[in-house]
Subunit: 228 residues, 2 copies
């Protein structure tokens, strides 16, 4: 029987994540880690983003799921390089999985590597993947109490994207409460409100991400942000 | 540094769960473990259920959350005995936590103990709490692909409750696909469709749960179901 210490795993993960980040940075690739609940709309957000980033960024995607390849097929259908990681039970991706998946991707010309993490508001919070930016997605139907209940994942994120705002007329959801909680937890974070399928708010999110991506490339020799 | 083996933890959990189940059974208490994504509507479902179970069952609740006591306060406001477990980062409850929380509850006269697990479609799947029945909640806004992507949690459940069906007119969600996936994963499971706040479908769910609860008490000396 193999005995594994959680502390050691996390330390090893942080080292691997740092190596990933250095590798991405020196290759001119900006890494984004997308986290959120199952069904919060992460893949739909990516589809809507990639349409708007055409000509401004060349993306590739790593999809993380417990099982199946539903999300990867959606990205593949857009002609975007994608690798699916099946965690087979694990509730988050880790830096080692990202290093392996990145080797399987054709990153020629790619300047934006988006990782869609396993749908989870808990486990994903503790694992730096080597990204430059972490975006947390919260959908209106999930409710406005999620920042109070799952603070860590929001605290460690660089941006909050509130999705499915077209459902606001049908659901009790206090946007101001969510914004207030996010400002308290992560004062530096950007906050966006979008309806990805209808397109509302997507242009400014795409604009911001393109700017971040290009700024990231220009400052490739600056120290990377610390998510640990 | 403490070194802990995952296999040992799971084995110890199964033993503790069995002890919980025996204790509940011999006390005439029917245990239900409610699992589902963050924001799938677990607490709202409980509120709608308890109103309908009045006079037919005397419930108590154990609430599991990473942080805070938002859900417990909602149950407490209904005059129902409730204990909040804060897992402080852990993505699921375990049998040991349930044993401790049950000691803190006034279970005098209680015949239905409902555990609302941490919002998570992954981690909660592997941990038997000692319940007699596991109900998995899937809300319409989460999407109809969740059974394909998180099969384990659905496979191990005795019932699927599809919540927020009043949002079906506004969201692409193929109910037949979900039902088909559930029948494949868990042929014995019951499937319900509800809109908890508006009340749609709640009466038959409450009726079913009351029947299960009373049948559970009648067959207290029968062997408990194996969720491991």
């Amino acid at each position: 029987m193999k005995i594994v210490a959680a502390k050691k795993i996390l330390k090893a993960n942080d080292q691997l994540a740092e190596e990933n980040r250095e590798r991405f940075t020196s290759a001119g690739i900006f890494g984004v880690n997308i986290v959120g609940s199952p069904g919060s709309g992460k893949t739909t957000l990516l589809e809507a983003l990639f349409v708007r980033l055409k000509g401004r960024a060349k993306p590739a995607v790593i999809e993380g799921d417990i099982a199946g390849s539903i999300d990867a097929e959606r990205i593949d259908a857009m002609g975007i390089p994608v690798v699916q990681i099946n965690t087979e039970g694990a509730c988050h991706l880790d830096a080692n999985m990202i290093a392996a998946a990145a080797r399987d991707l054709d990153l020629e010309g790619v300047d934006l590597l988006v990782v869609e993490n396993v749908g989870n508001l808990v486990c994903t919070a503790g694992f730096d993947l080597g990204e430059h930016l972490r975006i947390v997605v919260l959908s209106v139907p999930e409710g406005d109490d999620k920042l109070a209940k799952y603070p860590a994942i929001f605290q460690g994120s660089d941006a909050l994207v509130i999705t499915k705002i077209d459902l606001l007329p049908y659901i009790k959801f206090d946007v101001d409460r969510v914004i207030g909680d996010m400002v308290r937890l992560a004062p530096q974070a950007e906050i966006f409100q979008v309806a990805a399928i209808k397109g509302e708010g997507m242009d400014s999110l795409a604009e911001w991400l393109a700017r971040k991506c290009h700024a990231g490339k220009r400052t490739a020799d600056n120290p990377a942000p610390d998510h640990s």
